[in-house]
Symmetry: C2
Subunit: 442 residues, 2 copies
């Protein structure tokens, strides 16, 4: 059990098998070779942002903390590993006792990031750190991809309400994590009840075409909905003829009707017509919600339309063309033993192609200009320069195996909005571009 970002307490099953097999076999080989206990530093980072994106958004940190807390092997899991000869007896003994006992620092949730940003830094023995690789990357790669799309949509919406409604377009639990990431990225509500239950994200709902089709007439359907849900409800007006439906809606609900939803057609044109009709009918306070394959570009194109809220599904939960990030989790330094007195030595792969990375245990800071606008992501392995000491990005998340940095989801959401606002204006452009600030290594 854990606190699920201070929302409702929910049972989280063990996360230990959300792991690639090689993490366990590497532990086995290292245990036998006597190297499993070597003090090690792993870092999660990306070599690049998704093509054309100007900034990344860190999301999933709270879920990573849940995953680390719940990373333990129960009897059924150990029996599976034994029965399938995945690892040997000594390794099963090690896994049976496994609890992460190291330290984790990272970018706080909602913070923006850039190529090379050391988003998570995990320190402990080689064995205890390497086991976490797969599940840490699953969470960060998924959640950050969704949050990045959400952030762009939230920029495009310019303060209008955003409703996450993509549950049906992605795996049922990916959907819950997507609603959480979308909220961090600037969305206001979700249609996903599990996201409300687990994370206290406000949930909302309208009505589907099936409800209208269930009834003998559209008027019957609207009356049934208003009688049960009140005049403040949102009526779906595009099952048959939009103009007739809007007229019927106001006749049934009166001018206090909460909202109408449009889910098809040329949304720009239809929204203008519906707004005019609603106003002529005296329903000047009735809002217009639009849905139907929206992405950040479609949202931006409706900026001049009389739209009050956007419902976004597919393009949100698929990261608007970028359903994953390319975060990796690399050993960047290790000692020759478990002895804390043994110095950490930087290590890095040096082989073919672009997959090289910078060794060494890193810090990161965001340098700002005299107006307080970000001008570089500065990353180093040596001492932190005095002028950057107060601008460091990594915070302590886990100390000697204990989570020390729980926070409400709203804190991550507010941090994201503040962090994004500290970037140069060109970060807000939807067009493709380079990372909005450079990464400098010192």
């Amino acid at each position: 059990m854990n606190s699920a970002d201070l929302g409702r307490r929910v049972g989280v099953p063990s996360t230990a098998l959300f792991t690639d097999q090689y993490e366990l076999t590497m532990v086995q080989a290292a245990l036998k070779a006597g190297t499993a206990g070597r003090r090690s530093v792993f870092e999660a980072f990306t070599r690049r942002l998704p093509e054309g994106r100007r900034y990344g958004v860190v999301a999933g940190i709270g879920r990573v903390l849940d995953a680390v807390e719940n990373y333990h092997f129960d009897d059924a899991m150990l029996a599976f590993l034994r029965d399938h000869n995945v690892v040997d007896g000594p390794t099963l003994d090690y896994l049976a006792d496994y609890r992460f006992s190291g330290d984790i620092w990272g970018y706080p949730e909602g913070e923006v990031y850039f190529p090379g940003s050391p988003i998570l830094r995990v320190e402990g023995s080689f064995a205890e750190c390497v086991l976490l690789e797969t599940v840490v990357l699953s969470i960060l790669n998924h959640d950050s991809a969704i949050a990045a799309a959400a952030s762009r949509m939230s920029v495009a919406a310019g303060g209008r309400r955003l409703i996450e409604m993509g549950a049906r377009r992605t795996h049922e639990l990916s959907a819950v994590a997507s609603a959480r990431a979308a909220y961090i990225g600037g969305f206001d509500t979700t249609s996903d009840l599990a996201a409300g239950f687990r994370y206290n994200i406000p949930t909302v709902g309208t009505s589907a075409h099936a409800f209208t089709l269930l009834h003998d007439t559209e008027r019957d359907a609207f009356r049934a909905q208003v009688e049960s849900l009140g005049r403040d409800t949102t009526l779906l007006v595009d099952t048959y003829d939009v103009t007739a439906a809007v007229r019927t809606a106001v006749e049934v609900a009166g001018t206090e009707l909460g909202a109408v939803r449009i889910d098809s057609g040329d949304l720009l044109l239809v929204a203008h017509r519906v707004r005019q009709q609603l106003d002529e009918l005296g329903a000047t306070g009735t809002k217009i919600v639009v849905t139907s394959d929206l992405d950040e570009y479609a949202i931006a194109s409706l900026a001049a339309a009389p739209v009050d809220a956007y419902g976004v599904g597919t393009q949100l939960v698929t990261g608007s063309g970028q359903p994953t990030c390319s975060m990796v989790y690399k050993l960047v330094a290790r000692a020759a033993s478990a002895d804390p007195a043994d110095p950490l030595r930087p290590v890095a792969k040096k082989s073919l192609g672009a997959k090289t990375s910078l060794g060494g245990r890193k810090w990161a800071a965001r340098r700002t200009d005299e107006d307080g606008v970000a001008e570089a992501e500065v990353i180093g392995t040596g001492p932190v320069p005095p002028d950057l000491a107060g601008r460091q990005l990594l915070v302590e998340l886990v100390r000697a195996g204990e989570v020390v940095a729980r926070e409400p989801l709203d804190a991550a959401r507010e941090r994201h909005i503040a962090s994004r606002a500290g970037l140069p204006m060109s970060a807000m452009q939807l067009s493709r571009g380079e990372p909005v600030i450079p990464t400098e290594y010192v």
Copy 2:
């Protein structure tokens, strides 16, 4: 608890909150209006295949059956719905007693599908059927997207082994479902231990760069791995210099070395060089595994390279550019009451744009030519023509609330391979194209 496709029994939590809020509020309004019990038929289908794809692959049916069995509201869920005023008291009472009691027919798992194919047909009261919409679509849209990508990769691999290793690139539970869908689509193994645990999919593992970097020399690392995991292991040879690593690998493991893995560089070129070197060293039986951002096109381009197995990650779990399908779940017919004697009336939305659909409860059959090759997906609402009666695609999955069609995952995998083999040859082309057979409505 359920049987998870006849694999290991695992606890599946209730699936009832993987649901859009409007499903519940529609039930509330229909209960009050007296229409919730109207006998209804919903169908899941797509209006189009993802752009350029020639066939779709049905995956997730087994998971849908799990979801239907586990769709019930426990006390904590009901308390959440009550405390947040999601629905009223009578609706809470209805939900507290909810168990799906209707019938479900559908395409069996692994079968191919086309635009309009009635992939799932759910019959029962409006209320009991509409509640399932979101979770049914989540599963089918996700799993079918992954299976479709897997199927293309399996065509491209032409019989060489395919390893699913994308867990780190997608949500941790989406990863498990992806491994399952990939297996149905033709993959042989997965790196994801949870997929082995839940679904009995064979798991495999190699080694990561971190393992080499942990040790003082590459030779030390290889020796540690071989001593622990045996000569049959797969050594990763691209941490420093590939040629030197291959030489060291054979020196350490001997010519019985199982395999080497190459994870960077020009795979075509490197694979040829490594094969030649292995052969010169006498390691003629040592296999070559390649990984590194493979998709179906990269796999096809390596057809002439001396590669024995492909490890595929990102592009598999993101559906190779199509991370979701566009399946919808629509009310297609309903009666005026719950009375079985009341006739079902076809219903369909008739509004703006392309979002229209065909009303009526449907059957589907695949017509073949005289050589037994598929020539059309035939869909109808009337009687089934005698010549198609034996070629019907929908099978009974749930009868009066009881699941009647559990099967091992291998059955779905074999069905997919057979079903794909029954399509015209042009289905196997990786280039963009139209659906390989037309959909005909009779």
